[in-house]
Symmetry: C2
């Protein structure tokens, strides 16, 4: 991996960059749709590529349980297995263990949990999670972290920070060991990636809940490990937006300028813009896909609930200002019919539109950064977008 | 509409043709995927077009109930409403009333039924069914028929033939009335289609169950109405294949050579080939879509049940001889994973593959007809296909 910081905005802390990864180059700030089980729900990889998606997030916890990382390794890695020939970041699985698995128990050694699918018992250690992601052959591998829910006491948040740090050190050691055994030297090694100086990389995750001093401690300790990139975890869990933004700023102030910064699980367009404003480069969120499936569209006119009866005879597009396939070829009346008739093309087209909306948002952000007009652009976007949060 | 009969095979009764319809030209023999509710389940119109689908079947009964034909009329017709800019044939709804609706009652006047969705009461007359399809603006409109189940007594089958005949006469009268009121003369009319001599058309449906003399009577009576095309209904309902083929032959012998012939609800590749052999031009069936959704693929190596555990590590394509997107970019192991993980991309990709299989089958049939080698081609296809009905 290498990261080119092309420009830092003069009026804000926003950055324009380029991230070179084994499966391709990504323009930042980037939004990564979530393909939890190795598929962005309802979408083909072909469609994702066509609407300009450059990178996707998959999930270690889910892929470890089903189909199993050895199956993916045998298939030649995740990118080949899922037919997505662009970069993939895999989440470590920590968040899913805490949010999905019943009967989980965290110890110094790792986290014991039962599968949410069949109740089978498993034990994730920092080393195993790195090995799984190495088998998946992700472009960006995430350290196992401890992600407390919101709200959490300062004492528990501090414990999470400490264990996250110890685990990040163990992840780094395990990762370094794997890389050295795979690439003993330039001559005679079997991995052509090193020749392109474009190897997969390990990112650590800053925790600390909503406590600025814990965020600082976590950021400083992890930065000292000198990893290729850093994420901000444990936010967007229900805390007030002002708190999210304050924590993001606390972290980004301490994160190295020459390395990519990833805010996990954000979010709404306003959250993405606020975080870009504070120097974040990478985003992922289930919002466009989950809302698409349940019938809510993000549009330039505000959010649209497509099942609403007032769309039943509406022969206008979902978003008159959008150029996606759903808006070019179909009307609100038809999209509503698909949802009412339980036809999967409905969720599919709304998901496609929503991802297109987020991808277009990011390219508008990048264009404004190129032109040196990010602050003006974002003020203008937010005033018109917030005025129409729910279409009236 | 016009129908060009390009060639009749010298060794069989198979025909090569071209059907000109308001929304485009269709090469025959043609397979029409079924888009019951105005969508071929899981597929985008864009994908259907890309794999070479030329015409689709939609369903009057379903679209009448939801979203309602007036909604579709207001949207500018079905083709525009569903974003499918090629020809559409609408089934009359008779079959669905008999197979889906509870508490149906057939009288001389029409058929009374309750909606399978909400129990609401409705009454289909031949005239109403024609009016609905006119509102849908289908390229090919089907007469309301009486389609008895299999098996049925000769007495009941004869009654169905008689009522089907009376209703076809009423459909023709209603249809003629509508066309005349829409196109009072060449000058000054508002429908540009008449200028292209490419108007929508009405087909009648031959009934008679498995009784050759009833089939003959139905065919002769309906042919006397001089409609632009004819369908064979009431077959592929569980009767032995030999009976199906015998009935098809009985009908096609009496059907006009210069008009398209449509076998409703067929079917398996072997049934399609047998019917082409007996002079049928048009086919529709839910088989590729329904089997795709439940995880069964039609392949050149026989049928594949993708959930089978033996595919779990299989990194070969679904069908090594297929060029569709599902076979080009994905493996059996991944497709199985999608089904096991309940990801909608699984049914989507298997449906895409299955429709591609049927479309390729039809283009192979047409090519063999062009080359005068249909008999040899079909013998070769069937011997290799039947040897591998279930992949071993």
């Amino acid at each position: 991996m290498s990261f080119d910081l092309l420009k830092t905005d003069s009026a804000t802390r926003a950055r324009l960059g380029r991230l070179h990864l084994p499966n391709g180059t990504v323009q930042t700030p980037v939004f990564m749709p979530v393909g939890t089980q190795g598929t962005v729900k309802t979408m083909t990889p072909h469609e994702l590529r066509d609407i300009g998606v450059e990178m996707m997030v998959c999930n270690t916890y889910h892929l470890y349980l089903r189909p199993g990382h050895e199956t993916v390794r045998q298939a030649g890695g995740l990118s080949r297995f899922i037919g997505w020939h662009r970069p993939i970041l895999t989440d470590s699985g920590g968040y899913q263990v805490y949010s999905l698995a019943p009967l989980r128990a965290i110890s110094e050694e790792g986290v014991r949990f039962q599968s949410h699918i069949d109740g089978s018992r498993h034990f994730f250690t920092p080393e195993l999670v790195v090995q799984i992601q190495q088998a998946l052959d992700s472009d960006v591998v995430m350290c196992l972290d401890v992600c407390p829910p919101y709200p959490v006491s300062q004492e528990d948040a501090a414990k999470a920070v400490d264990l996250t740090q110890v685990w990040a050190e163990r992840c780094k050691a395990a990762w370094t060991g794997i890389q050295e055994s795979r690439n003993p030297g330039i001559e005679g090694h079997s991995n052509p990636r090193i020749l392109e100086s474009s190897s997969p990389v390990l990112f650590a995750i800053i925790q600390g809940a909503t406590y600025p001093e814990l965020r600082q401690r976590s950021a400083e300790q992890l930065v000292a490990l000198d990893l290729p990139g850093y994420a901000i975890g444990g936010l967007c869990l229900g805390e007030p937006s002002a708190t999210t933004y304050e924590m993001v700023e606390t972290c980004t102030e301490l994160m190295p300028a020459n390395k990519p910064r990833y805010l996990m699980g954000a979010g709404y367009p306003e959250d993405i813009i606020a975080a870009v404003n504070r120097g974040v480069d990478m985003f992922d969120c289930v919002l466009p896909t989950r809302n698409g499936r349940t019938g809510t569209a993000f549009t330039s006119l505000g959010r649209v609930t497509i099942r609403n009866a007032r769309h039943s005879q509406d022969n206008t597009p979902l978003d008159p200002n959008c150029t996606c396939y759903a808006c070019r070829d179909f009307t609100r009346a038809y999209l509503r019919h698909l949802f009412i008739a339980s036809e999967v093309l409905g969720p599919h087209l709304l998901t496609l539109h929503n991802i297109h909306f987020f991808i277009t948002l990011m390219s508008s952000i990048r264009r404004s950064l190129e032109q040196g007009s990010f602050r003006e652009w974002s003020q203008q976007f937010l005033s018109s977008y917030q005025q129409t949060k729910e279409e009236s």
